[in-house]
Symmetry: C2
DNA sequence: CCATCGGATGTTTACGTAAACATTACAGCG
DNA sequence: CGCTGTAATGTTTACGTAAACATCCGATGG
């Protein structure tokens, strides 16, 4: 109950009481009273200094772990801090230091696993480096929206920005980037203009396509992602290239929008094609919808049709059948984003270039050799 | 190409050039040079004022849309702002105003749909109100971790905090909440001490259980969530109560940890029970695993076993079979969180109390009457 | 015994903004 | 014609912190 009562509602500021009992300081009382501002909820360095009997500069030194402070003095300051419940004012700190220790993350949506997992990794890595993460989702990816987002981010307190989306939408908008803000981009091929960190889309795609071809499939169909996405584009391009290089004819591309529902619709279409024995879905959600469509149409997976996904979401192992898929290391992508953006801020790294995070094929139960090996041939 | 070159790497500060050409101001040059700081990337109000030939206070008035400014002067200031690429310094602003216009969100994980969707809604609503959202995921929900998170949040710039987790973990930790920071909690029953916004767990659960009983099932099994979660606790309690009230005997509780994998494991167990004809899963992911387990064990859904989930994740409609589930309005929860926390900050609302967001039963294809109506009876 | 050095601490100042207060100029009015 | 009121703008100051610089004091060495 003691604990439960320590809610924000019940908190009384220890700073106030302590200040009341601190009777020295001979100067005019009205000044003191005025100096205590409209709310007397927070203690400043000056308050701590007064209580500890030192200068505020010494408090600052203790607060920042500066070396040249006598151990005894340090303890006195720390104890005063504790008594007053002192917390450094980050606004003042940011103003003085000229940096916010905050990274902004701009993204269209948190509906896709990839964005979320990347974001989570970014937040974790950033926290580890002493940075906070400010989130700014932009609901509708129009150019105006994007601009709006950035404007807000500028006025907010960020030292750097990580963009989780196709950056050409940024280029296309008339955005004035604040000059000192560093940008790192995910899901883009703009490595010649930006610093880009991304999953090795091409590598993952090749692995997937090759796996299906190695099983003996004549060709591989592709259930692609939406047009705006670089990842979708890259996966589709590589899928086509990989087939062509191996001497196979790429069938027409079928597009979805990343959702399971779109995968289902596309799946109904693919299920109707007798010669479709292998499908590479651009993400696991669409693969899920695809599996349902195939099931409804009586095409067994993997006996009749092999399906492979991309992402390796946690649920993929519980699909019917468990999905063979390309594993993305989102955590690593997020980590590298933070690393890259901090390096840029410290002018330690190159201004641009692309870093790719390798993928890994996870074999489960949704792929198998085609049914009648050499059934039909074009 | 013009656009592409407007990257952070290529940006030159318009402020610098303009300042260079601003030759008036007769005072000592060295002072000017020093005042321009180590980096000359940002223009301050003083710079704008100088260029526009007004005082910085007038710039401030224009910047904040203050009324008493001559239209001509206003235009001059705006034009100077544009020329210098002026952006208000939010650190200085926050320091002066005593508020950050930022809401902190603390959460254990972004792995669950609910947290993410709520977070997204919070961010959107907050942005709409002119607030930023600072994210702080805490990897492992130990008490020390929680305390660490809050310490960091305090030192960061937040005016309020939304906690997406069971708040008793907070109570149990020795956290000193900064006195002026308002807290709103999701996933808790601590409405007597905090402001709580949550989905109507009980209502949703009752709807689900009643639906299955109405179909004629003798009883309903429950695949519950992990112990630490209030939502899991609440759903389990209500499930038990609803059964008892209807004169049915609640079977033993089977627990998972929200993941599909845990649902699968639990599902294997449930599939072995002949008398299990209806299962209420505490979330959709576990329902997915459950479906797989039942399928593997040859128990058809919904012919042999009915399954109902909770959450209504987008993928639920693509499960095999499409999942009947309880729809949660996460967007509304997030929106209400922001609303509540802002109201608390403005002292317009009550300090505590619980707001529940209603659920909705979404009927799909995973539920049906039990196989042999009056087969066995306890 | 005094100059010097360096550790410990204090004082001053600036960061950029905006509230509070001060000043100016001009219109309206008796 | 001078007084008053008000709109427009300028000046001063404080927000809380930390860099830069200043001071103090005891120890060390010549």
């Amino acid at each position: 109950m003691d604990r439960a009562s320590r809610t924000s509602a019940n908190v009384t500021s220890p700073a106030t009481e302590a200040a009341e009992t601190t009777g020295e300081q001979g100067d005019a009382t009205p000044k003191r009273a005025r100096a205590r501002r409209r709310d007397r909820t927070t203690a400043s360095m000056a308050d701590v200094a007064r209580l500890a009997g030192v200068s505020s500069q010494t408090v600052s030194r203790v607060s920042n772990g500066y070396a040249g402070v006598n151990e005894e003095t340090r303890r006195a300051v720390l104890s005063a801090m504790k008594e007053l419940g002192y917390r450094p004012n980050s606004a003042a700190r940011a103003l003085k230091r000229g940096e916010f220790r905050t990274i902004g993350v701009i993204t269209f949506t948190l509906a896709t696993t990839g964005n979320v997992r990347t974001l989570e990794a970014i937040a974790t890595s950033a926290a580890h480096e002493g940075y906070a993460v400010t989130l700014l989702p932009v609901a509708i990816p129009t150019q105006d929206e994007v601009r709006g987002a950035f404007t807000r981010l500028e006025e907010l307190a960020v030292d750097a920005v990580i963009v989780i989306m196709e950056v050409h939408l940024l280029d296309a908008a008339t955005i004035t980037l604040p000059p000192h803000v560093q940008v790192v981009v995910v899901d883009s091929d703009a490595g010649d203009h930006y610093t880009v960190v991304d999953t090795d889309q091409a590598g993952g795609t090749r692995t997937a396509v090759r796996h299906l071809l190695d099983l003996g499939h004549q060709t591989v169909w592709h259930l692609g992602g939406p047009e705006g996405s670089f990842a979708a584009q890259r996966r589709a391009d590589t899928w086509r290239a990989a087939l062509t290089e191996a001497g196979h004819v790429p069938p027409p591309l079928v597009r979805g929008d990343w959702t399971a529902e779109s995968g289902y619709r596309a799946g109904l279409e693919l299920a109707a094609r007798e010669n479709c024995t292998a499908v590479f879905a651009a993400n696991d959600q669409m693969a899920l919808g695809l599996l349902r469509a195939l099931h409804e149409r009586g095409r067994r997976v993997p006996e009749d049709v092999s399906v492979i996904g991309f992402d390796d979401i946690p649920e993929a192992s519980s699909f019917l059948p468990p999905l063979t898929t390309v594993h993305q290391d989102f955590a690593e992508v997020g980590r590298l984003c933070v690393e890259a953006v901090l390096r840029k801020m410290r002018r330690e790294g190159p201004e641009r270039g692309t870093t790719l995070v390798p993928t890994r094929l996870v074999l489960r139960a949704s792929t198998a050799p085609p049914p009648g090996r050499d059934a039909e041939r074009p």
